[in-house]
C-alpha cells in the first residue's frame, strides 16, 4: 500500500469521516465562535434567568442570566486546551520512559516495567485530587496532574515498539557506522515511533478530558467564573429540575466531542498501525 492509497484509506470509513468533520466543527466553533457572539461568557442578562432557547440566546441562559451558548463555547476552549496539554505532558513522559526502558534492556527494563505494573494498580483519582488540593487549584496544575498519571499505556506501547525496532538492520547499520546511543535514539528510533505515539496520544485525549470534567465536577478543577464543560455540566445537574437546557447543551457538546475524538483516534490507528486495528 503506497502513501496515497493509505491516505485515501485513512478516512474511508463513514463514521471516521463524520467524526473528523464533527471534531473540526467543534474546534472551529470553540475557537472562533465566542468572538462572533454578542454576549460574553460572563455578561449577565438579569431579566432573563434560567430561560430556554430564544432568538437572543440560542441555548438559553443559566441561573445567573449568562448566555449558555457563549459559556459552552468558551468552556469548550478550556476543556479542549486541558485535554491537549495534559495529553502532551502524558505523551512526553510516556515516550521518554518507554524508550529508555526499551533500549536499556534486561535489568533496568524489568525494574521500570514492574514500576509501571504497580502504578497501574494505583488509585489515581486520589492522587490527582491530592495534587490539586496540595498545590492549589491553578489551571496549569490541573493538566500537569492529569498528565502525570495518564502516561502508563503510552510507556508500554513505546517500549514494545522500541524493542522491535532496536534489533532491525537499519539500527545495526547505524551502530556500525559509529552512531552513539543518543543519535540512534533521536535520529533513528524516534521518527519510527512517532506514528504509534500519535495514535496513542489521540486515544488518550478523551480519557484526559473525562478526568478534567470529573475534577471540575468535584469542585477541584476550573474555578468560577471560568467554565469548562465539567463545570457547566455540574451546574446544569444542580439546575436540572428548573432549567434542563444547561445540562443538555453542555453534556451534548461533551459527548459529541469525545465521540469524534474517539473516531479520529481509530482512524489514525488504522492508518499508522493497521494490525492493531480490529
Amino acid at each position: 500500500m503506497n502513501q496515497r492509497q493509505a491516505l485515501r484509506h485513512l478516512f474511508s470509513s463513514c463514521t471516521h469521516r463524520l467524526g473528523c468533520l464533527v471534531l473540526l466543527a467543534v474546534v472551529l466553533s470553540c475557537v472562533v465562535g465566542p468572538m462572533l457572539l454578542a454576549d460574553g461568557p460572563n455578561d449577565q442578562d438579569l431579566a432573563l434567568r434560567a430561560s430556554g432557547p430564544s432568538a437572543r440566546h440560542w441555548l438559553g441562559t443559566d441561573a445567573l442570566g449568562r448566555d449558555l451558548l457563549a459559556r459552552v463555547l468558551v468552556g469548550g476552549r478550556i476543556s479542549l486546551l486541558v485535554g491537549l496539554l495534559a495529553t502532551a505532558v502524558a505523551s512526553v513522559i510516556g515516550v521518554a520512559y518507554g524508550m529508555v526502558a526499551g533500549l536499556a534492556g534486561r535489568r533496568v527494563d524489568a525494574i521500570m516495567m514492574r514500576v509501571v505494573d504497580v502504578l497501574y494498580a494505583f488509585p489515581f483519582m486520589t492522587f490527582v485530587i491530592l495534587l490539586v488540593v496540595v498545590f492549589g487549584r491553578r489551571f496549569e496544575l490541573i493538566f500537569v496532574a492529569i498528565g502525570a498519571v495518564e502516561w502508563l499505556t503510552m510507556a508500554r506501547v513505546v517500549r514494545t515498539q522500541v524493542m522491535v525496532l532496536r534489533d532491525l538492520d537499519f539500527v545495526n547499520a547505524a551502530r556500525c557506522l559509529g552512531a552513539g546511543r543518543w543519535r540512534i535514539l533521536v535520529r533513528h528510533l524516534l521518527p519510527n515511533i512517532a506514528g504509534t505515539a500519535v495514535v496513542y496520544a489521540s486515544l488518550t485525549v478523551p480519557g484526559v478530558m473525562m478526568l478534567e470534567a470529573t475534577l471540575s465536577f468535584l469542585g477541584l478543577g476550573i474555578q468560577p467564573p471560568d467554565a469548562s464543560w465539567g463545570v457547566l455540566i455540574s451546574e446544569g445537574a444542580d439546575q436540572m429540575a428548573v432549567n434542563p437546557w444547561q445540562l443538555a447543551s453542555a453534556g451534548a457538546a461533551f459527548i459529541l466531542t469525545l465521540w469524534s475524538l474517539g473516531q479520529v483516534g481509530d482512524a489514525l490507528r488504522e492508518y499508522f498501525d493497521p494490525r492493531q486495528a480490529r
Partner: protein
C-alpha cells in the same frame, strides 16, 4: 497458581505501602495544617494538641507510624471529627462504596456480556451494529451526565426510587445503575471482539465438526477463552470504578468513602485521608488478585507462564 497468587499478594503489599507513603508525602508538602482554621488558642494548648496526635515527631517517624497503624487496623481518633475515630468513619462508609462498586460491576457484566455475545454471533447484522453504536455512545458519556439524567428520570419523574440520599434499602440501585451502564459499554465491546477472535480458531471448527450444538460450542468452548480480554480489563477498570464512584456518590448524595477523601484532603485531616487512600488501594489490589486468579483458572497456560 499458588505462586501466582503469592507473587501478586507480595506486589499488592508494595502497592498499598507505596500509596500510603506517597499520600503522606503529598499531604505534608501541602501548606497549612489540620488546626489552622480554628480559633486562636494559647500556645501551650496548641502544642499539647499537636503532641496528642503525634504531629511533633520527625516526619519519617510519623510516616512509619501511619503505615503501621493502617496495616495493624489500629486507627487513631480522627483529627477533625472529634469523638469519631478514623476506623469508625471508614467502617461506616466503606461498605456503602463497596456495595455501589460491586453492584455496579455486576450490572455492567449482566448487561455487557450478553450484548457482546449476541453482537458477536450476529456479526455485521443489525443487532451487531446497534450494540456497537450504542456502546460507542455510552463510552463517551461521563457519569456526571448519566447520573443526573437517571436521577431525574427514575427519581423525580417516575418516583420509583429516591434521587438523593441513603435511607431507603433500594438507594443503591441508581448509583450502581449509573456505574454499571457506563462500564457495560466497554465490556460489551471487549467480549464481542474476544468471542469473534476465538470463534475463528481451529479448535472451534473441531468442536463443530464433532457435532456439538452451537450453544455448547459458544458457551462451553469459546467463552472460556473469549472472556479473558474482558477480565484483563476488569482489573484496571476497578480503579475507574472507584473514580466513578466518587462522582456518583456526589451526584446521589451517598455517604461513601469518596466524599470523606476529598473533604479530608482539603481539611488536612491527615489520618482520614491516608486511611481512605490506603483503603482504596487495598480494594484495588484485592480486586486485581481476584481477576488474576480467575484468568489463571480459565486459561491454565497463564498460571504456568507467570514467574
Amino acid at each position: 497458581m499458588l505462586a501466582l497468587i503469592l507473587s501478586r499478594l507480595w506486589q499488592g503489599a508494595f502497592v498499598v505501602v507505596g500509596v500510603l507513603l506517597l499520600t503522606f508525602c503529598l499531604l505534608r508538602l501541602a501548606p497549612g495544617g489540620p488546626f489552622d482554621g480554628e480559633r486562636q488558642v494559647p500556645e501551650h494548648i496548641r502544642r499539647a494538641q499537636v503532641a496528642a496526635y503525634g504531629l511533633d515527631r520527625s516526619l519519617p517517624e510519623q510516616a512509619l507510624r501511619y503505615v503501621w497503624q493502617f496495616l495493624s487496623f489500629d486507627f487513631p481518633p480522627s483529627l477533625r471529627l472529634p469523638g469519631r475515630s478514623v476506623g469508625e468513619v471508614i467502617a461506616a462508609s466503606a461498605p456503602v462504596s463497596a456495595l455501589i462498586g460491586v453492584a455496579g460491576l455486576g450490572i455492567a457484566l449482566a448487561i455487557g456480556l450478553p450484548l457482546g455475545v449476541a453482537a458477536a454471533l450476529a456479526a455485521q447484522r443489525a443487532l451487531d451494529r446497534w450494540v456497537m453504536a450504542l456502546s460507542a455512545l455510552l463510552l463517551c458519556t461521563p457519569t456526571l451526565v448519566l447520573g443526573p439524567l437517571l436521577g431525574q428520570w427514575f427519581g423525580l419523574k417516575l418516583r420509583w426510587l429516591n434521587a438523593l440520599g441513603w435511607e431507603d434499602p433500594l438507594d443503591w440501585v441508581l448509583p450502581a445503575l449509573t456505574l454499571g451502564l457506563i462500564h457495560s459499554a466497554s465490556i460489551a465491546r471487549l467480549s464481542r471482539a474476544g468471542l469473534r477472535e476465538v470463534l475463528s480458531q481451529d479448535f472451534i471448527r473441531t468442536a463443530r465438526a464433532k457435532g456439538l450444538g452451537e450453544r455448547a460450542v459458544v458457551w462451553r468452548h469459546a467463552m472460556r477463552l473469549a472472556i479473558l480480554p474482558t477480565l484483563n480489563v476488569l482489573g484496571p477498570s476497578a480503579a475507574a470504578l472507584l473514580t466513578g464512584s466518587m462522582v456518583v456518590e456526589t451526584v446521589f448524595s451517598v455517604p461513601g468513602l469518596g466524599q470523606h477523601f476529598v473533604g479530608a484532603a482539603i481539611n488536612r485531616n491527615y489520618e482520614l485521608a491516608m486511611a481512605t487512600a490506603g483503603f482504596y488501594a487495598v480494594l484495588i489490589v484485592l480486586f486485581n488478585l481476584g481477576v488474576d486468579g480467575l484468568c489463571a483458572w480459565l486459561d491454565p497456560r497463564i498460571g504456568r507462564r507467570q514467574p
